[in-house]
Amino acid sequence: MPSIDDVTDTPDELSDDQAEELLEKADLVQDMMGEVCPYPQVEAKKGLQQIESGDLLVQETDHVPCTENVPRAVGDDADAQVWRSGDAVYRIYLRKR
């Protein structure tokens, strides 16, 4: 019996506390507020090229589709988690593999 996660394949969601804690440990933070697709995808790929394996890249964005498109774009290069503020701000956490 497949679970819903196999079907939707969306990244894990972070709680507010986890999101804050992880943000402080980030190795690279990209400000993507006011950006539109596909520039956050391209920047995420470039950002991952700059950091080491195991490092954390965080994107802060107000562009709704990014929460799914950015994790998709980096594919197997990183493990993705997402935080939704509920107020149209989102953070995407990418841990480089």
Binding site: D62, N69, A73, A88
Partner: protein, 390 residues
């Protein structure tokens, strides 16, 4: 008239809400497929187009329709479509994507809309010259749809084309997965010819995916309020968009976006003292000599923004978003290219890919090729530093 306005409001709000919830963006559908083989939105676009084709075919066969939109066909579709495709990729949103994001509060896309308007106005001024040069030289035949050209009943024709499209899709995906399995299980792959196996494998995957989708949908129904605030599968949006488009087809026409927007431009300019009716394109082509005024499809398009606004507000996705300064050229140039391209084709991604293929219009087949080619070229340019998958 009141009932038509009510239909316009219902269809507009429904389209806006489903576009927003499903992030139903044609740029996303093609760009992300080319860039990193992400086909989630592509599947939604395919599902919406094929389902709408079948239901419109049925409606046409039984006479529940008002009319098709069939511009004369020729190379204009390829040229205009290509310009539109490049423009929408650069702008980061297609005609429908720009509308629903305007409703989500993106100032970026209000600016895009403004410059699409400039594109429509510029085209209108140049129209007399373009008509005798560009359109005359590149138009080869009168517009038609296969529904009217063939004597096959509409529902059967639509179903036949839809089934053929699914088979092609299954063969392509099946070939991809058999090729992947070839390395691991060379013995079985050698026994069965891959060419025969591919459609079967693909269809099995298609059925599995569809069943899994409906199972997920049923699960989502258990928590309707929480699920309604989450992003929806583009295929869910496809179902809703189809329902709205069938209602619209039976009462008014096919669904278009840039045509009504170009009428809005003429209408708004006439409000501030420009004699829009004296321009050939607005007076006799877009408003067809009826005088520059509010038409029912303009009302519908307006309600798309309202529907997207309501859906975004409900989901916590609404916010007035101020664009980055370095993104302003995207709105200006992308908007201009979408405005001009959609008139040169004529038609946008909704008119030509969604509605146009669903109504089997010859012009739209050509224009769809042009639009997708434009997206392909522009995607490769934007991804030039990191590379594309296809």
């Amino acid at each position: 008239m009141v009932s038509t306005l009510l239909v316009a409001a219902i269809v507009g709000i429904a389209l806006g809400a489903f576009l927003q919830k499903g992030r139903f963006c044609f740029v996303n559908a093609f760009r992300d497929f080319f860039a990193y083989k992400d086909s989630r939105v592509t599947k939604g676009v395919l599902a919406a187009t094929l389902l709408t084709m079948v239901f419109w075919g049925i409606a046409y066969q039984f006479g529940y329709y008002q009319g098709f939109w069939t511009p004369d066909w020729g190379l204009t579709g390829l040229v205009g479509g290509f310009i539109f495709g490049v423009g929408m990729t650069y702008a980061g949103g297609c005609a429908s994507g720009t509308l629903y994001r305007a409703g989500e509060g993106y100032l970026q896309f209000w600016l895009t809309l403004l410059f699409m308007g400039v594109g429509y106005a510029g085209f209108t001024v140049a129209f007399p010259t373009l008509e005798s040069t560009y359109f005359e030289a590149l138009t080869f035949g009168t517009g038609a749809t296969l529904f009217e050209l063939t004597s096959v009943p509409g529902s059967l024709l639509a179903l036949g084309v839809a089934v053929a499209a699914v088979l092609v899709y299954a063969t392509l995906t099946g070939r991809a997965s058999t090729a992947a399995a070839f390395g691991e299980r060379a013995d079985t792959a050698q026994l069965t010819p891959t060419a025969l196996l591919a459609p079967v494998v693909g269809l099995r995957g298609f059925v599995r995916g569809t069943v899994a989708y409906f199972r997920g949908l049923a699960r989502a129904w258990r928590h309707p309020v929480a699920s309604s605030k989450q992003p929806w599968d583009p295929r869910t949006a496809a179902l809703g968009i189809t329902a709205a488009a069938v209602l619209w087809f039976s009462q008014v026409s096919i669904v278009g976006v840039t045509g009504p927007e170009a009428r809005w431009t003429g209408y708004l300019l006439s409000r501030v003292g420009v004699d829009a009716g004296s321009f050939d394109y607005w007076g006799s082509v877009l408003f067809q000599g009826q005088g520059v005024g509010m038409t029912v499809d303009m009302v519908m398009i307006g309600f798309v923004i309202v529907g997207a606004f309501l859906a975004a507000l409900w989901s916590g996705d609404f916010s007035v978003r101020v664009p980055k300064r370095r993104r302003l050229p995207n709105a200006v140039v992308g908007g201009l290219m979408m405005g001009a391209g959609s008139r040169l084709a004529p038609g946008c991604n909704i008119g030509n890919i969604y509605s146009g293929i669903a109504e089997l219009s010859i012009h739209s087949f050509i224009a769809a090729v042009g639009i997708v080619a434009g997206v392909y070229v522009m995607t490769h340019w934007i991804y030039r530093e990191v590379g594309c998958a296809i």
